[in-house]
């Protein structure tokens, strides 16, 4: 029996592999290509899920289960909930075939060896090839080979969450399967984290880069619960304008998750980034912006354990979202001017 390749290093991937490994993994691969450091790890392709379904015989059973559903399945939410439970139970009861489990575990162990930690904490994240609500399971701080394999299966199970089933039915997609990849990446030990925007969100100014950050994990910045440090960097002269805030709360890693906590007093009023870190963030952000030709909204983390510049790690890059808002304002303006055309 031969099994095709279904595990990839992130450095083997790029934007063109969206359908192979899903968006998250393809993005991480593409970011690697663009010279951004991303958390090291590997990707389990959509084929991996399909191999699992085939090897276990689950694929055929699940297909049979869904094709036995009546006409009203599409509209009956109760039946969809029952289906979700039934299919997940089938998956939970089915042992992971060795050929699959071994492949996941050996790749994880290789990562452990590289960082000298036999139980290296990793994040196990879903990576859908199409955006699908309800199947975005992410498991943080997963440790140990068997635990990693278990979480991968749980990500696969999430494709049968009720919302995901309902979504596929509504969109006329096959309901018995979903193209999903999984990313297994090393947890970053965050000293500080935040976002970079290569365009000012409120004014649309594209001459400056805006950085916001806080101590600890990025959640506190993204959620908008605290007032983060704000650094505005001129793209041409690289001069930095600082607004350092008093940061009373941060989000930190606990053994099996994250928690909000008080920032130690001596750190509260200190800037969460040093100048050389700021310049490194700006350098990479401008490269990425140039590559895509549109302003970027990116998430960064500075790792506590790694030396600079390896410590500057990226977890996300996407076109700046504010443009939607900006677009609306532009449309308002255009409509207004169009109305004026008809005034004498």
């Amino acid at each position: 029996m031969t099994v095709n390749k279904w595990i990839y290093g992130l450095d083997e991937l790029g934007q063109e592999h969206l359908e192979l490994v899903g968006r998250k993994c393809a993005n991480l691969g593409e970011m690697t290509k663009l010279g951004m450091r991303v958390p090291p790890g590997f990707a389990i392709s959509v084929d991996g899920f399909e191999t699992y379904m085939r090897e276990t015989g689950l694929g055929a059973r699940i297909e049979a289960y869904f094709s036995a559903q009546g006409e009203d399945f599409k509209k009956n939410i109760q039946k969809q909930m029952d289906a979700s439970r039934a299919v997940k139970a089938m998956m939970a009861e089915t042992p992971l075939p060795n050929i699959i489990g071994d492949a996941i575990e050996s790749n994880y162990e290789a990562l452990c060896t590289k960082y000298g930690d036999r139980e290296l904490p990793v994040a196990v994240r879903s990576s859908g090839a199409v955006s699908m609500p309800g199947q975005m399971e992410t498991y943080l701080h997963v440790r140990g080979p068997s635990e990693v394999a278990r979480r991968v299966v749980e990500v696969w199970q999430s494709t049968f969450n009720t919302r995901a089933i309902a979504f596929r039915l509504e969109k006329g997609m096959p309901v018995d399967k979903a193209p999903i990849g999984v990313a297994v990446i090393r947890m970053v030990n965050a000293k500080s984290a935040g976002v970079v925007l290569t365009v000012a969100p409120t004014t649309g100014d594209t001459d400056h880069v805006v950085i916001e950050g806080n101590w600890g994990l990025g959640e506190s910045v993204v959620s908008g619960e605290i007032t983060p440090d704000n650094f505005i960097v001129n793209k041409a002269s690289l001069t930095i304008e600082r607004k350092v805030s008093r940061k009373a709360k941060w989000v930190i890693s606990t053994g099996n998750g994250t928690a909000k906590a008080d920032v130690p007093l001596d750190l509260q009023e200190a800037p969460c980034l040093e100048d050389h870190e700021i310049h490194e963030l700006v350098r990479i952000a401008l490269n990425v912006e140039k590559h895509f030709g549109v302003p970027q909204d990116m998430e960064w983390v500075v790792d506590r354990d790694l030396p600079f510049p390896e410590s500057v790690i990226w977890v996300q890059a996407r076109p700046a979202k504010f443009t939607a808002k900006r677009k609306e304002a532009d449309a308002d303006y255009i409509v207004d001017q169009m109305a004026r055309l008809f005034r004498h």
Binding site: D205, R326, A329, I334, V335
Partner: protein, 569 residues
């Protein structure tokens, strides 16, 4: 004595009941009625005029209402001696204008936010309607089904015009705003070469069809058919090709292409000439002209160049405006660029296609009526109007329309001999006032297709004629004056085309002529758009070009200066 009822026309001149031009009543309604010279010269056959007057009129009022244009409620149309006469329906009070503006702001928004999906969804709907019409086998259908197909064709035509004018009003509104912004920010208008550079270098369906014909010319060469085609005089190309196995194989493929893209007639706004599917002579003549010219399909090379130039111009222009203007300016620029594509594609998918289907359905009935002796030949159907078709189609053997046809045909021939006046004005109302009325309407279509810009006369140039720049450049060569579509085959490579106006069935010519001079046109007219894409100069609004220039005269046109010189007078 036969017991067939002879249908005597009460008054043969009634072609479009309710919408015949009535001098007294209509001049009371509006002081100025303009002849649609672009579409109704030469005069329409009665059946085509019936369709156009009813539904172009309906579509414009539908479009203006759907968008709630603040100052205009579309156009009114009348039929007179085969000509279409139009006037604008002004919104009468300022209070009503303000009310309409509130709704306009909502209605125009989809054009700004997601133009492509809007156009796509409208187009898909109409294309779906076409497919429905085509499913009926006209020669096997019952009389009832034939009549039903015709009624549905009427409804498809009506819907086509709704989509047509809704899209056109919205699209041109964006285009005019962009031009205004260019005037304010960059001090250029839409006759300026930089403006043309900004909106040029885009593919469209009409140009794709041209390219397919060019590809067929290559294929014909490879199959050893070039000599046969070059030795044919035009009309016999198809029959000479069909005479050899090789040629038959070629024609089979060519006809398959026409079954997809040949739903058009040589004249855009008429239905009395065969479609490309019925008679492939016009595209075969284009193909022959490609063979004569030789070389590559210059549109592709030209487009790569135009696209590069456009990108440089875009960067240049965006560099001149402030960052906070960039967002909306870019959106408007993209919309203006889509206007050209829309202008061409809508002709192909809407007007030409629908008219071809009208012809198909009408001829289906025509053949049936001719077989029953109701009319003398199938083509006589173009001299019958729908009210009469409804009257006779289920039981054609009971009626005789031949006298009606004879009378109508005689009238039509008289219309063709006597040109319709370009404008009909109320006493005491002059042309300047009439133009001012159009301008006051702010009607986007009137401004960009009918009125255009007036040429600036510059005595120091000592030019023989003046015009406006539709596509920049300078060309010198022999003039070829074309007054009707059946002369298109006469155009030779390297000549300068002189015409009243042009339509999409003329586009293949643009690949081998040096320049174009048209009597009427604005920046979104067919000749201007296609001339820009082919990179040849186009001079518009020359008004008397077809009268003053003679075929064979050497002329020089300088579109940049808006001047035309006749070199051998």
């Amino acid at each position: 004595m036969s017991n067939v009822t002879v249908v005597q026309p009460v008054k043969a001149t009634v072609t479009v009941p309710g919408l015949e031009f009535d001098e007294k009543a209509d001049l009371e309604q509006s002081p100025a009625w303009f002849l649609d010279g672009t579409h109704s010269v030469p005069p329409w056959t009665p059946l085509f005029g019936w369709f156009w007057i009813n539904f172009c009129r309906h579509g414009m009022q539908y479009g203006a209402e759907k968008l709630s244009l603040p100052t205009v409620k579309g156009w009114d149309w009348r039929f007179k001696n085969g000509g279409g006469y139009l006037t604008v329906l002004l919104v009468k009070s300022e209070a009503e204008q303000r009310q309409r503006e509130v709704r306009f702001r909502e209605a125009i928004r989809p054009f700004v936010e997601d133009y492509d999906s809007l156009w796509r969804s409208q187009l898909d709907e109409v294309l779906g309607l076409y497919e429905d019409l085509k499913t009926l086998d006209l020669d096997k259908a019952s009389n009832i089904d034939l009549l039903d197909n015709f009624e549905r064709t009427i409804n498809v035509c009506r819907r086509m015009w709704e989509v047509h004018m809704y899209m056109m009003y919205g699209t041109f509104t964006a285009y005019i705003l962009f031009e205004n912004m260019c005037r304010n920010l960059l001090s250029i208008d839409d006759t300026h070469p930089l403006f043309h550079t900004l909106i040029t270098g885009f593919d469209n369906k009409v140009l794709q069809v041209d390219k397919r014909i060019w590809e067929f010319s290559r294929k014909a060469s490879q199959m050893g058919l070039a000599d046969v085609i070059l030795a044919s005089d035009g009309k016999d190309i198809a029959s000479r090709l069909d005479a050899s196995p090789n040629g038959r194989a070629f024609m089979e493929e060519f006809r398959a292409f026409l079954n997809e893209d040949g739903w058009r007639m040589q004249r855009m706004s008429e239905m009395n000439l065969p479609t490309w599917i019925e008679d492939p002579t016009p595209p075969l003549v284009n193909l022959k002209q490609f063979l004569l010219k030789g070389g590559g399909f210059n549109l592709e090379q030209e487009r790569a160049k135009l696209t590069r130039e456009r990108e440089v111009a875009e960067r240049d222009v965006l560099g001149k405006i402030t960052p906070d203007q960039k967002g909306w300016f870019t959106t408007l620029l993209r919309l203006a660029q889509k206007s050209g594509v829309f202008s061409e594609e809508h002709d192909h998918y809407l007007d030409l296609y629908t008219h071809a289907l009208m012809r198909r359905s009408a001829l289906g009935i025509g053949r049936r009526l001719a077989a029953a002796g109701t009319i003398a030949s199938a083509e006589d159907i173009f001299f019958v109007v729908p009210e009469e078709i409804r009257k006779v189609t289920i039981n054609p053997d009971q009626f005789d329309l031949k006298p009606v046809v004879v009378e109508r045909r005689a009238e039509w021939e008289a219309w063709c001999r006597t040109p319709n006046p370009p404008v009909i004005l109320r006493d005491g109302f002059d042309m300047d006032q009439a133009m001012a009325m159009l301008v006051k309407s702010n009607d986007p279509i009137a401004l960009k297709v009918v009125v255009g810009s007036m040429p600036v006369v510059r005595p120091e140039l000592k030019a023989d004629l003046h015009g406006t720049c539709g596509s920049p450049g300078v060309a010198e060569g022999l003039a070829r004056v074309i007054v009707s579509e059946d002369q298109l085959a006469e155009v030779q490579p390297g000549e300068i085309l002189v015409a009243a106006t042009t339509s999409p069935s003329w586009t293949p010519l643009f690949s081998f002529i040096k320049g174009v001079v048209v009597d009427r046109g604005a920046s979104l007219s067919h000749a201007a758009i296609v001339g820009r894409e082919y990179g040849i100069p186009v001079l518009m609004n020359v008004f008397v070009g077809t009268q003053q220039i003679k075929t064979g005269q050497r002329i020089r046109l300088d579109a940049n200066l808006g001047a035309l010189f006749i070199l051998d007078k």
